[in-house]
């Protein structure tokens, strides 16, 4: 029943998501009647298919009733969303919940040895966290594309007559080329706001020749331009900015951070400062934009990757007053910054960290989704990798420092913590979201191990690979990819090709995000990534070298998948192969983009400076990767150990709690059921059992043991494996005589005498209980036959 419920929910979920992809962005109204009708329609459409597939009207009715109540609850809760989004969210939530219950039962009650069980349990927890993060992504996507009522959406602020507080704009610079900073300063000189100063804060630039000209430029631009060179200054950029606050004009009420390579719109201050008329508003953020975003696939997809955060995440966060202060192109109230103690000099994403402390004090934030300036993107993939490492590392630092403030009980422990539930949720999910890439690598690892064990026909088992375990995650994966492409197309207004390129741009950074997550957890202080140095004059070779780990992982995945399928061609190894090719493509996107970024490098030539964002101690990529290698070695060792642990001599009693997966597969579609019994494929993730070797058949007579079918129906096959030819069906409570058994007691198959026939066939042990002793049952590999009816 559980399995049928999962399939039915997945059906509802797929129908509702597919309709959302078609209509979700167009339907701009939300009313309860429409949502009610939509819910009914989706449930009925799913039921229509389910009635033909499963029958079981009573079950379908009961589940529909539950789904209906659940759907109504979310219709009431999510009144600002349109009907397709409400129903998609509720159905996906329900499917995910049921699937988690199923995987737990499968983990808990499969006949595994203790070490296999521990691995299966870890795998279950990983799966649960990954699915929860996927739900969070889906929530964000639906929230921005299908929201019909925005409560805090502002395109522009109107100037308030007479309200012209002084603004101090700080331009942090480190080793920046003079011409780049000059351009920025000249754009600031063109601001049409009457009351501001600009403070160029150059920190630790070693050569006077680099920073002295800035002083001169400031002089020529007027008395409200100042220059400050800080030497041997600790705390990196935030340390310098903290000191800069002491050097601002005492009359300044608002501070602004402008990166040294930004060209700012003249209306920047005029249109943003009015937000501070509300004394509760502590900071305002606008999108960061880039002026070198066209010309090649790498630049365009990277640009869209940046835009995603400002077009999807920030508007959603803004609705709950949970935005992140992203530094440049943002304004912050000086008194609030002083109240929270300035920028954190430990955290390398000090701006995001400060915004959390500000929101903790109960202040308001505001996001204006209009670009007021543009800067420069990293010149190549190496630069992008380093930048993403820094962002992720900083995100993990924020989690380390503030995790308790984000917990549900935070306000009980600290009454001064005024974070709302939504703010805590967004900051927590934002931090944990980085770990998706860690889990993705782990899944890739499990898949590769599955393929390797399959190639060597190893009987290592972690968790039975049931149809549901194969089908539902595949459905989730497909739906989430479609959803991601849909949100990219809708919010960023890009073609399908560009959406795919942007998606791969995200995925290509999975490895570096994984490294940053691990480093964020193990390092006490900030570090920056140092990619392998080129050993060749060839730029192309260097581009490959900086992505050598991604290339190796990608090739490993694809090779493992192809060899596994080549060595044993069946639909399971084909699924394994497809999954591994998918995983491999995510990692191989890195060298591809690295090579593509050469076009950008060539096109921009010397016009773009090499941006220095290094903060903290350097950490070599090879050294950072040792954690991953060591962990993989431990896992491989533990997997190998499983082989030496004894498996249960007989089928334990507790397997009766296993969800009836095989029976449901039979009921779902007899044509599809071939090869679906899980017993034959219990492996780290995906392996099929080796062909049972032909042995001389012992003489099989009456053993005195019988088996009672516990599943509602079960296939009886010619050979003791899932893919073997089906000879007959057996039904629930049917008792059959056992004449032999397979040689694997952990995954038993009973050779039974077909009732009312002289034929014999193989029944999977998990669909029946054994009556009598296993001792007297001979091991055999005899082929089953239908026989003649008696």
């Amino acid at each position: 029943m559980l399995v049928r419920a999962i399939y039915l929910c997945a059906l509802w979920s797929a129908i509702s998501l597919l309709t959302t992809l078609v209509m979700g962005s167009r339907l701009r109204r939300s009313d309860s009647a429409l949502s009610f009708l939509w819910l009914t329609g989706v449930i009925l459409a799913g039921n229509f298919i389910a009635i033909f597939a499963f029958g079981r009207l009573l079950e379908i009715f009961g589940l529909s009733l539950l789904a209906f109540i659940f759907g109504l609850y979310w219709i009431i809760r999510l009144r600002d969303w349109n009907a397709p989004a409400q129903i998609t969210w509720s159905m996906t939530l329900m499917t995910t919940g049921l699937f988690m219950v199923y995987t737990f039962l499968l983990t808990a009650f499969s006949p595994l040895n203790p070490l296999s069980f521990v691995f299966a349990l870890i795998f279950f927890f990983l799966e649960a966290i990954t699915l929860t993060l996927a739900l969070a992504h889906m929530h964000e996507s639906l929230d921005v594309v299908c929201r019909v009522r925005w409560h805090r959406l502002l395109e522009k602020l109107e100037p308030i007559p007479g309200y012209l507080p002084m603004v101090s704009l700080q331009v942090p610079a480190y080793n920046e080329p003079v011409e780049v900073v000059e351009k920025t300063l000249k754009s600031l000189a063109g601001l049409n706001y009457p009351n501001f100063e600009v403070l160029v804060v150059d920190n630790n630039t070693p050569l006077q020749a680099t920073w002295r000209p800035l002083e001169e430029i400031c002089r020529t631009l007027g008395p409200n331009f100042h220059c400050l060179h800080l030497d041997q200054w600790p705390g990196y950029k935030s340390g310098a900015l903290n000191f800069a606050v002491t050097q601002t004009d005492p009359r300044a009420e608002i501070l602004g951070i402008i990166d040294a390579d930004y060209e700012v719109d003249p209306n920047f201050l005029n249109e943003l400062v009015p937000a501070f008329a509300n004394p509760q508003v502590a900071f305002v953020q606008t999108p960061q934009d880039y002026n070198d975003s066209t010309g090649d696939v790498f630049s365009e997809s990277m640009y869209r990757g940046y835009k995603y955060f400002f077009e999807v995440s920030m508007p959603s966060r803004n609705e709950r007053n949970a935005i992140i202060f992203a530094g440049t192109m943002g304004l912050i109230r000086k008194s609030v910054l002083e109240e929270i103690g300035g920028w954190d000099e430990w955290c390398i994403t000090e701006d995001a960290e400060a915004s959390l402390r500000i929101l903790k004090k109960g202040y308001q934030s505001l996001y204006i989704n209009r670009s007021y300036g543009s800067g420069m993107m990293p010149i190549n993939f190496e630069g992008l990798k380093k930048q993403r490492f820094r962002w992720c590392f900083g995100g993990i630092q924020i989690l380390k420092k503030h995790w308790e403030a984000l917990m549900p009980w935070a306000h009980l422990v600290d009454p001064e913590n005024k974070l709302t539930f939504a703010q805590r949720y967004y900051y927590l999910v934002g931090g944990l979201g980085w770990f998706s890439d860690v889990f993705n690598l782990l899944f890739a690892f499990f898949l590769v191990m599955g393929a390797v064990f399959n190639i060597f026909s190893s009987p290592i088992k972690i968790r039975p690979l049931t149809d549901t375990v194969l089908i539902i995650p595949a459905v989730f994966l497909c739906l989430h990819i479609l959803r991601f492409l849909w949100v990219l197309r809708n919010r960023l207004r890009v073609s399908m090709n560009m959406a795919v390129a942007t998606m791969y741009n995200f995925f290509s950074l999975g490895w570096v995000v994984t490294l940053a997550c691990i480093q964020g957890l193990v390092q006490r202080e900030g570090v920056f990534l140092r990619t392998p140095k080129g050993t060749s004059a060839s730029k192309a070779w260097h581009a490959i070298q900086v992505t050598q780990w991604e290339t190796a992982i990608g090739i490993l995945c694809i090779m493992a998948g192809l060899i596994a399928f080549g060595s044993d061609r069946n639909w399971r190894t084909l699924s394994l192969c497809i999954l591994l090719i998918w995983q491999g493509s995510l990692y191989l996107a890195a060298p591809l983009y690295s090579l593509l970024s050469l076009n950008r490098e060539t096109a921009l030539g010397g016009t773009v400076p090499v941006q220095v964002t290094d903060q903290g101690k350097p950490v070599l990529e090879q050294l950072a990767a040792r954690w991953v290698v060591a962990f993989s070695m431990v896992l491989i060792g533990a997997f190998s150990l499983i082989r030496f642990l004894p498996t249960p001599a007989g089928l334990p009693d507790y397997v009766r709690f296993l969800p009836e997966d095989s029976s449901s597969a039979v009921a779902l579609s007899p044509q599809q059921s071939a090869g679906r019994e899980p017993g034959a494929t219990a492996s780290p993730v995906l392996t099929t059992a080796p062909e049972t070797p032909e042995m001389p058949a012992p003489t099989l007579g009456a053993t005195g043991a019988t088996a009672t079918v516990t599943a509602s129906s079960a296939n009886c096959r010619a050979r003791p494996r899932g893919g073997a030819e089906r000879i007959t069906f057996l039904y629930k409570d049917q008792q059959v005589e056992i004449v032999g058994r397979s040689d694997d007691p952990g995954n038993p198959w009973w050779l039974i005498k077909i009732p009312d026939s002289n034929g014999r066939c193989w029944l999977w042990g998990m669909t029946a209980t054994l009556n009598g002793s296993i001792e007297g049952i001979p091991i055999t590999s005899e082929r089953g036959t239908a026989g003649d009816s008696q």
């Binding site: 349990l121 103690g341 001599a649 334990p652």
Partner: protein, 210 residues
């Protein structure tokens, strides 16, 4: 400080202040110089001397002294800020020397040591934060959670230790917040233990299958 010395300094400062008001800056400077020489720990002396100092460098040095001795004196802070601002306008080079909770000490391009007020709430740096009272209880709770992921048996053992630690530390908790934190650790430990029981049972039955 001896009473007669105190009287002498008070007189000197009074005189210096009077001359300063009369616009006789040179005399005011001489008196305040004498006062700071006799009593270098007297902030008022440094402040008056700074107001009448013949050079910007000396003014900055005196204000820095005055600020160090009386960091809450508003006028000193304001004057110091203005003086640093003027200095930076001429020579933007400042090198870091050290910092306290209240000020930075920097070295200017002209080798002057200047104290610059921070004017912001002090927050203990993350790495220097002392571990809270509940840390031992949290540590055991973390062990219990990790053990829960690894089959639950360890969690059955560690969670009660975490709960016990939380109860034990309750008595010495200095604040309500800390007491609540310990109570939460206790509740979480109980919850982890309750979840760990069936999970560890699921693990143990694999050693002795029925």
């Amino acid at each position: 400080m001896q009473p007669n010395l105190q009287t002498e300094i008070s007189q000197l400062l009074e005189e210096a202040g009077k001359f300063a008001q009369q616009g006789k800056r040179e005399k005011a400077y001489r008196y305040s110089l004498k006062a700071t020489t006799i009593a270098p720990g007297e902030p008022r002396g440094w402040y008056i001397r700074a107001q009448n100092a013949p050079s910007r460098e000396e003014q900055l040095m005196c204000l820095s002294h005055a600020y160090t001795l009386a960091p809450d004196h508003v006028e000193t802070k304001q004057d110091l800020r203005a003086a640093v601002h003027a200095l930076v306008k001429q020579e933007p080079f400042l090198a870091y020397v050290y910092e306290t909770e209240q000020f930075y000490q920097v070295r200017s391009g002209r080798d002057l040591l200047i104290n610059v007020p921070k004017d912001r709430t002090f927050e203990v740096p993350y790495l220097k934060k002392k571990p809270g009272l509940a840390q031992p209880a949290f540590r055991w709770l973390t062990f219990a959670l990790v053990a829960l992921f690894l089959g639950g048996v360890g969690a059955v053992l560690f969670a009660p230790v975490a709960a016990f630690q939380a109860l034990r530390l309750q008595a010495s908790a200095p604040t309500d917040g800390e007491r609540t934190r310990l109570l939460i650790v206790f509740i979480l430990a109980v919850l982890v233990w309750l979840v760990a029981i069936p999970i560890s049972w699921l693990l143990l039955i694999r050693f002795y299958p029925v």
